[in-house]
Amino acid sequence: MAGSSNRPGVGGLAVERENKRLRATNKKAIKMIASYIFKQKSQLMLALFLMSVVACANMVAPYLAKIAIDDHIMNGDLNGLTMILLLYVVVYIVFWISSYFGSYIAHKVGHRMIAEVRQDLYDHVISLPLSFYTSTQTGEILSRLTGDVNNLSELITHGITNLLSDVLTIIGVSIIMFVMNARLAIVVLLTVPFILIGISYIGRFMRKAYGSIREVSGKMNAKVEENLAGIRVVKAMGQKEQNVDTFAKINMETFKAQIKASGATALIFPFMTFTSAISTALIVLFGGMMIIEGDPNMKIGVIMAFISYTNRFFIPLRDISQVYGVYQNAAASSERIYEYLSTPITIKSKQEAITLSHELTGDIKFEEVSFAYDKDMIINKLDLYLPAKQITAVVGPTGAGKSTLIKLIARLYDISEGSLKLDNIDIRELDIEYLRKNIMLVSQEVFLFDDTIKENIRYGKPNASDEEVITAAKDACMDELLKGLPLGLDTQVGELGNQLSGGQRQLIAFARAILANRSILILDEATSAVDAKTEVFIQQALTNIVKDKTVIIVAHRFTTLKLADKVLLIANGNVAGYDTHQALLKDNKLYQDLFDRQWSNDDN
C-alpha cells in the first residue's frame, strides 16, 4: 500500500477521457516494464520453474499422508509406511532447495530490474532540460525514483513468481481433490466463491479506510511540519495552547479514521479461520456420510487429505485476491516512471554537433532573438553583439528579462526564434558538453554539496590538485572565512549549516569558477544584503575573476558597474541602452531614472 499513487478525481466525461489516455500510456508503460523483465528471462524462467516445483512438493505431502493412512496404516503395512516416511523426507528436501533458490533468484531478478530501471530513469531525468525542473518539484521526482521504482520489485517477487505457484497450487489441489473424490471436491470447491467474495469485500473496505487514513495523516504531517518549522514564531508569540488544541483536533481525526479501518483489520484472521472451519465441517459431514454410504472412493485418509488440502488452499487464494492490488500499484508506478522516460530531451547535441579543438574566444552575437516562456514573450527580437573579453554589466527593471538572457547564452533554455552565435557559430550547432565546458555561470543561489569546502571548490575541475584549489580559494578572497575554521578547507559544508552566510557561499562559488577557468563567465549578482566586510571580499574576488574573459554580470551594485567596460540596459525584453556607464548616464533617460533612485536613497 505504501507509495501507491493517488490521482485526484476528475468528474464525468473528463474521467472517460482520462481513462482512455491512461489505457494508452498504460500499454506503453507495461511494454517498457516487460522489456526490462525480458532482459533477465533465463533467470526468471529458472525462478518460475523452481517455484512450480515448490508448488508440486507442497501438494504431494498431504497425498502421501493419505496413502499412508488408507493403504498402509489401515492395512497394517509397516514397510510401506517406512517408504512413505522416506518419500516425505525426499519431498521436503526438494521443497527446501527449490524454494530457497526459486525465491532467492526471484528476489535477485526483482532487485536487479529495479536497479536498472532506476539507473535509466535517473540518466534520463538528469538529461532533461531546466524547464522540466522549473515545473516539477524535486520531491516528486525523488518519489518516482525511489518509491515508484521500488513498487516494481513487488511485481516480480509477489506478482509474478508467487502468482504462478499460487495458481499451480490451486489448480493442482483441485485436480487432486477431484481424483480422490469428485463429489466431495465439488462440495468443498463450492465454498471458494464465497471466500473470494469475502476476502475481496474486506480488502475493498480496507483500501477505502486506508485511503482516508492516508488523507488525514497527510494533513497531520503537513500541520506538524508547518508548526515545527515555525516553532520560533509559535514560541515567540506564546501560542502554545492554541497550537496544542489544533493538533489535538487533527490527532482526533486521525484516531477516528483509524478506528474505521480497525474493523476490517480485525476481521481478516477470524474470517480466514472461520472459512477453513466451514470447509472442515463440510468435509467431515459429507465425507463421513459417504463412508457410511459405502462410497469406495471415500476412506479416512481421504478425509484427512481433504482437510489438509483445504488448509493449503487459503493462503494462495488470499494472495491471488491481492495480486490485483499489487498489479494496480505496479501499473500506476510504471506509468509514472514512463511519463518521465517519455519526456523528450529537447536540449541536446545535434548528431553532427561541432566540437572545436580550441576554446571559444567568447564572441557573443544575438540576431533577432526571441524567447517565450509559458506564452509570455520575455525576449523580443533582440539584436546584440558582445565582443570577446568585454566585461558587460546588465541592468534593467524587474522582469525585463536579464536573468533569461544569460540563461539563453548557457543554453539552459533554447531560444524560440532567431539565432544566438558564439564565435559566429549558432549555439545549437555546438556540442552541448563542449559549450558548457566553455561557459561558467555563477547564479545568485549558490548550491553547495554536502562535502568539504575543498571538494566543493574542486567541483569546478575534478582533477585539480590541492594546490590549485588553494590558489583558487585565495583568489576568491576566502582567507578571512577559512581563518575562522579550524579545519580550513577540509571543513564539511553540512556541519556549518546556517553559519555560512550568503556572501560566504558566494565566495566559494567564485573559487569554483576561478578553478574551472572558462572563457565565458556569466554572473548573476546576489540581491540580498551582505555584511560590509564580506562585501569587500566579494568585490575583490570579482576583480580577480573577470580577468581576460568575456564577462556578463547581471549587476545590482554600483561598484560592479564601475568594473564593467559597457553597461547593457534591458527593458521589456529588448535592449534599451548599450554603452559605457558615463555615456548612458548622460544620454539615457531610463538609465538616469534607475540610477537616481539609487543615489537619492543614499543621500537621505
Partner: protein, 611 residues
C-alpha cells in the same frame, strides 16, 4: 531553518533500538495499563478464542474414533454442526477481541502523540538547534504509526499464536505423550528457525533501509544541484554517483532476499518432517492398536494448522523489533527535558515600562566557541537600539537571550529592574514583539496570520493593524481580501509583503518592547518606502532592539551598539560614532561604497526556479 536541512533523511539505523528491549516494552505497557479493563477483556478474549480454535481438530478426532467407525449418521451431523458452531463462536470472539485491541492500540497512540506534541512545544530552542524538523516529524507521524501497527496487530497476533501453539501442545499431550514427544523434539528447531529468521532479517532490513536513506539523500542532493550540474556539464559525474548508491542498494536487497528465501521454507521443512515422523510412528501405533486413528488424524490436523501461526510469528517478532526502535525514538523526545522553564516563584510581567539592562552577560552554544563575552548595557524605556557587527558575532543571540530562548551562562538580564528569570516565560514573551528576518507565515488566511498572537481579534482590529503596516491596500486588491489563503509557507507573497504582514501581526499584539532582527534583509528593495513607514509606525513609543545593516535604520536609532568578538566595542548615536575614528566609521565608509544598486527583485528568477 532551511528546507534542505528539513528534508534530509536521518541516516542512523532506523530499525535498531539502542537500549534494551525490556524497559521500552514495559514503558509501553504502562501506557496500556491506563485501559486496564479493556486489557483484561482482551486477554480473556484471546484465551477463549485460542481454546475454541482447538475444537475443530478435536471434533474431527472424536468423529473419526466414535461416530464414523461406528456408523452413526446422527452423531456425524452433530459433529459437523459442532465444528461450525465452535468456529463461528471463535470467529466472533476473536474478531471482537482483535477489534478491541486495535482500538486500544490507537488510544495509546493518540495519547502518546498528544504527549509528544505538547512536550515539543515546551522544549527549548537549544533542542531545535540540534535536531532536524524532518526527524522530529517522522517521530510523531511514522514512528507512531509503526508503533500502532505493533500494539494493535502484531503484538496481538504474537500472543494469540503463542496461546494457540501452547493449547495444541496441551491437547496433544493429553491424547498421546509419545507422539507429542515427536513433535516436541522438533519444536527447538522450529523456534530456532523463527528466532534466527527474525534476528538475521533485522540487521539486513535495517541495512536496506539505511542504504535507501542514503540513496534518497544522494539523489535528492543531485536533483537539487541540477542547475550546478548543468552549468558544469557534469551529468556523467552525477550519474556515476547515482550508480554507486543504486548498486549498493541492489546488493543489500540481495542479502535480504537470501535471508527470507532461506528461513521461510526452513520452518515449513521442520513442521513437515515432524508431521512425517508422527505419521510413521503413529502409524505403527495405530497398527499395533495402542493409538486410535482419530488421535493420529488429530495430530495431523494440528500440524497443518500450525503452519500459518508459526510462519507469522517470525514476521511479527521482526515487527516487534522495529516497533521497539520506533518507541525508543518517541520516548527520546519525551525524555528530553526543557532546559528553560519558569522558576518556582515566577511572577507575571505586567505594566511594563520597558527599561532593559544587560549585566556582564556571557553565552556560548558550545564550549569551544564563546559567543557573548561580557555584554553590558542599559536601555531606557522607549529607546530604539540598533545593533551592528559582522555575521556570526552574536547579534541575534543577544536578543534571543532577552526572550529567554536561551539563558545566559553567566550574567543577568533585567527588565524594569527585575531579572527576567523571575518572570513567567509566557508573560515575558507576550510583552516582547518579534519581527524576524525570515518571516514565517502559516498556511492559513491572511487574517488568521495577522491575528496569530491574538486569535480573538475583530476584523476591524486586524484591519487597523494592517493599515499601519502599510499592507491593507495590497490585501484589498486581492479577490478574497483578508480571507486569502497564504500558500505553503507564504510562498505566494513577496518578501516585503510578508514582512509587512509580520509587522501587522506584531502591531496587533501591541507589545511594550520590540525586537526587529534584520527586518529588511530579505526585502529586495530599500526603495520600498512602505516598509520604512510600517517599521516607523511599529517602533513608535516602544523599547526597540533592531539588528540592521542598512544606513537609514542606523540613523533613526537612539543608540547604536557595535558588537565585535562577543563584546560591545562602541556605544553611541550615529552622529557620535561617525565622527570618531573606530570600527563604526570604518564600516560606515565601507557600506557607503558598496551600497546596493537596487533595481531588481528577481521575479523572473523565482518563476524559473531558484535562479
Amino acid at each position: 531553518m532551511n528546507d534542505r536541512d528539513n528534508s534530509k533523511v536521518k541516516l542512523n539505523n532506523p530499525n535498531k533500538p539502542k537500549g534494551k528491549l525490556w524497559p521500552i516494552f514495559s514503558r509501553l505497557f504502562k501506557y496500556m495499563l491506563k485501559y486496564k479493563r479493556s486489557l483484561i477483556l482482551i486477554i480473556v478474549g484471546f484465551v477463549i478464542s485460542a481454546f475454541l480454535s482447538l475444537t475443530p481438530a478435536m471434533v474431527v478426532k472424536i468423529a473419526l474414533d466414535n461416530f464414523l467407525v461406528k456408523d452413526k449418521l446422527n452423531y456425524l451431523i452433530i459433529s459437523g454442526v459442532a465444528i461450525l458452531f465452535f468456529a463461528l463462536l471463535q470467529a466472533i470472539i476473536d474478531f471482537m477481541t482483535r477489534y478491541h485491541a486495535e482500538v486500544n492500540g490507537q488510544k495509546v497512540i493518540y495519547n502518546i502523540r498528544k504527549d509528544v506534541y505538547s512536550h515539543l512545544m515546551d522544549l527549548s530552542f537549544a533542542y531545535y538547534d540540534n535536531v532536524k524538523t524532518g526527524d522530529i516529524l517522522s517521530r510523531i507521524t511514522s514512528d507512531a504509526e509503526t508503533l500502532q501497527t505493533f500494539l494493535g496487530f502484531a503484538s496481538v497476533t504474537i500472543v494469540s499464536n503463542m496461546l494457540f501453539v501452547l493449547g495444541v501442545l496441551f491437547v496433544m499431550l493429553f491424547w498421546s505423550v509419545e507422539l507429542s514427544i515427536l513433535y516436541l523434539v522438533f519444536v527447538p528447531f522450529i523456534i530456532f528457525g523463527i528466532v534466527r529468521y527474525a534476528f538475521s532479517l533485522r540487521p539486513a532490513n535495517s541495512r536496506l533501509r539505511m542504504i535507501l536513506g542514503k540513496l534518497n539523500v544522494a539523489l535528492q542532493e543531485q536533483l537539487q544541484a541540477i542547475l550546478t550540474i548543468k552549468i558544469f556539464g557534469s551529468e556523467k559525474r552525477s550519474r556515476a554517483k547515482a550508480t554507486k548508491v543504486n548498486d549498493s542498494y541492489m546488493k543489500a536487497g540481495f542479502i535480504t532476499g537470501k535471508i527470507v528465501s532461506f528461513w521461510m521454507p526452513y520452518v515449513f521443512v521442520f513442521i513437515g518432517l515432524s508431521t512425517a515422523l508422527i505419521l510413521w510412528y503413529g502409524g505403527h501405533k495405530v497398527i499395533s492398536g495402542s493409538v486410535s486413528i482419530g488421535v493420529l488424524s488429530g495430530f495431523m490436523t494440528y500440524m497443518t494448522m500450525m503452519m500459518r501461526p508459526v510462519r507469522q510469528t517470525g514476521m511479527m517478532i521482526n515487527q516487534a523489533f522495529v516497533a521497539a526502535a520506533a518507541a525508543e525514538r518517541i520516548f527520546e523526545v519525551l525524555d528530553t527535558m526543557p532546559t528553560i522553564k519558569d522558576s518556582e516563584n515566577a511572577i507575571p510581567l505586567t505594566a511594563v515600562k520597558g527599561k532593559v539592562e544587560y549585566k556582564d552577560v556571557y553565552f556560548a552554544y558550545d564550549r569551544q566557541r564563546p559567543v557573548l563575552q561580557g555584554v553590558s548595557f542599559k536601555v531606557e524605556p522607549g529607546q530604539m537600539i540598533a545593533i551592528i557587527g559582522p555575521t556570526g558575532v552574536g547579534k541575534s543571540t543577544m536578543i534571543n537571550l532577552l526572550l529567554r530562548f536561551y539563558d545566559p551562562i553567566k550574567g543577568d538580564i533585567l527588565i524594569d529592574e527585575h531579572n527576567i528569570k523571575d518572570y513567567t516565560i509566557a508573560s515575558l514573551r507576550a510583552n516582547i514583539g518579534v519581527v524576524l528576518q525570515q518571516v514565517f507565515l502559516f498556511n492559513a488566511s491572511i487574517a488568521e496570520n495577522i491575528a496569530f498572537a491574538k486569535p480573538d481579534s475583530t476584523i476591524e482590529e486586524i484591519k487597523t493593524a494592517a493599515k499601519l503596516a502599510q499592507i491593507d491596500d495590497y490585501i484589498m486588491t486581492l479577490p478574497d481580501g483578508y480571507q486569502t489563503q497564504i500558500g505553503e509557507r507564504g510562498m505566494k507573497l513577496s518578501g516585503g509583503q510578508r514582512q509587512r504582514i509580520a509587522i501587522a501581526r506584531t502591531l496587533l499584539l501591541d507589545p511594550p518592547m520590540l525586537i526587529l532582527d534584520e527586518p529588511t534583509a530579505s526585502v529586495d528593495s530599500i526603495t520600498d518606502e512602505s516598509i520604512m513607514t510600517a517599521i516607523a509606525n511599529l517602533t513608535k513609543g516602544r523599547t526597540v532592539f533592531m539588528i540592521a545593516h542598512r544606513l537609514w535604520t542606523l540613523k533613526s536609532a537612539d543608540r547604536i551598539l557595535v558588537l565585535e568578538k562577543g563584546m560591545i566595542i562602541q556605544n553611541g548615536t550615529h552622529e557620535e560614532l561617525i565622527s570618531i575614528p573606530g570600527r563604526y566609521q570604518e564600516i560606515f565608509t565601507l557600506q557607503n561604497n558598496t551600497e546596493m544598486f537596487e533595481i531588481d527583485d528577481g521575479k523572473i528568477g523565482e518563476r524559473n526556479g531558484g535562479f
